[in-house]
Symmetry: C2
Subunit: 359 residues, 2 copies
Amino acid sequence: MIDTGSFARLLCDWCLEVAEGQQVMIVSTMLAEPLIVALHDAVLERGAWPLLRLTPPELEERFYAAAGDPQLDSFPPLELAEVGSTDAWLRVRAPANTRALAGVDPERLRRVAATRAPITEARLRKRWSATIWPTAALAQEAGMSEREYELFVERALFLDRPDPVAAWRELGEQQEELVQLLSRAREVRIEADGTDLRLRVDGRRWINSDGKRNMPSGEVFTGPLEESATGTVRFTVPTASHGVDVEGVTLTFAGGEVVAARAERGEEYLKSALATDPGARRLGELGIGTNAGIDRSTGSTLLDEKIAGTVHLALGRSYPETGGTNASALHWDLICDLRDGGGLTVDGELLDLPGFSGL
Amino acid sequence: MIDTGSFARLLCDWCLEVAEGQQVMIVSTMLAEPLIVALHDAVLERGAWPLLRLTPPELEERFYAAAGDPQLDSFPPLELAEVGSTDAWLRVRAPANTRALAGVDPERLRRVAATRAPITEARLRKRWSATIWPTAALAQEAGMSEREYELFVERALFLDRPDPVAAWRELGEQQEELVQLLSRAREVRIEADGTDLRLRVDGRRWINSDGKRNMPSGEVFTGPLEESATGTVRFTVPTASHGVDVEGVTLTFAGGEVVAARAERGEEYLKSALATDPGARRLGELGIGTNAGIDRSTGSTLLDEKIAGTVHLALGRSYPETGGTNASALHWDLICDLRDGGGLTVDGELLDLPGFSGL
């Protein structure tokens, strides 16, 4: 099994920087028990308070089955209040079934996401991190045995390195050079088979995502200018947002807005997502993956979007720290693999990065 | 397995009276998962919000191992704040090991109980209930197989009756007659082998405990006059408070205060409990058990104190609704079995109740 002590140290000291007296909220399912217990101890040892929010893994599905209209269109006030008084917040993804929400009407998912937007926004204003705990369901989604998947997660999180915190610091330093280069850029062009998309990024801030928020991370990202996206992009990595398979998405943009959208699979879900609100038809994020420990897609966006040699674009909400201004209840990352042909051009110059094959 | 739908209905409709829009906090360990899932659904179906606070069962023990001084002498502010905005609150006892705290220094337990008194007090001012979910550890404590213990719990909670809510209502009506009788009483005298204790109860309110708070219940109780307890009482039912066995406790009272205390087993724990604060040396409760579904002691105070034919006295905090004024961080129930000889005399008249053998 993964060394939970080492994992908990990485989360407390690198990701959340837990300090004395803080209230640290930890959200997960009961399946993450070994990590949760180690985190509980580690947070206490740092003089802080662990506040656990564990649920049976089947609860999200059951919520959609049992909830009536008032519950789809509101939320318990206490949930918003507690985000306000929390110092740090960690979500540990540990599903029992990655397709648990596949049968839920997308309109109900959309309603709940829109209703709960104030909670989501409040959380993003706090110190937060999101990570993953290897479960049988995630291994199955990745097409691996559980032991094989555990080893994969260890490599993705640098838990196989002698000093994981030092390894993340080092990747952060490498990414800082990339951020410096991109901060001078005006236009980014993504080219691959079926893809030619131009985005303006001048005046926006590039973020060095060094594992403090997403663990694992390994990406730099920004919010592109909201009206700049022009051209077509084909996302070659499948996603399973809320348990619905969506594959072969092609989006065409004009003036920053989606003007044509199709999917080889899951097109209904795609259309419903685009209809969430006006901001859902615009891009909130452009990211470039740099994590060499993640060598294949496993059906989990949190990891797939970090693969060295991929870029990703998110429909919907932008992260305010990038200078992006797109508002939406949606934030849906779609990934374009450039490892087997394709490239990123910055103001006419091809980026030379590990993993990217070039044009 | 216990019918979790029927159990959840009893808790929602009889105990907590869950109403639309309420926030209902549910505190337990992960071992109670089947009941928690049923409760989650039942609370939602009543238009209310379930707020789950589930922990790995080993966490309480680990808290005492990992906590430093600041954590023993304070609590996370969010925990007090959330009690304030909760409408109803349910604790489901579901331990993995009833002796998990046996090795913890009683002084540390005392410190934490004293520190957290404001949270405890705030909870008691809310609508609250406490119940039990049969685990292997509770069956072991009771000396039963798991299946045998489940059947025992079903009988104790009237879940074996065609209509559990109606059965509790009926017991409540029978208890109401006893409350009427006791409300006119001035003195209660408990007599048994080694026991002769007199308590004044005039001016105090007797409470009809009909399962709305403790589930199972089946008792009537009051707070005796704080300076009235006089004489000696021998508690014949063992307790395992915080996992420490305490047996054969004999307490002698003068002017309401414990003036001599000994235990055949666990005397150190007893002395430490009495030293919690000044209120810990006085009685906060006198209760009379009436539950005929509980036919033997099983090492769980919540159930043992309800056995028809027993009386119990609590050292420490009184319930304000009785008119009792004793303040303490302690509330420790000790039980005296009168089924095999002994009786309760009210103003000189022997009470004739089911289970009591008489003098």
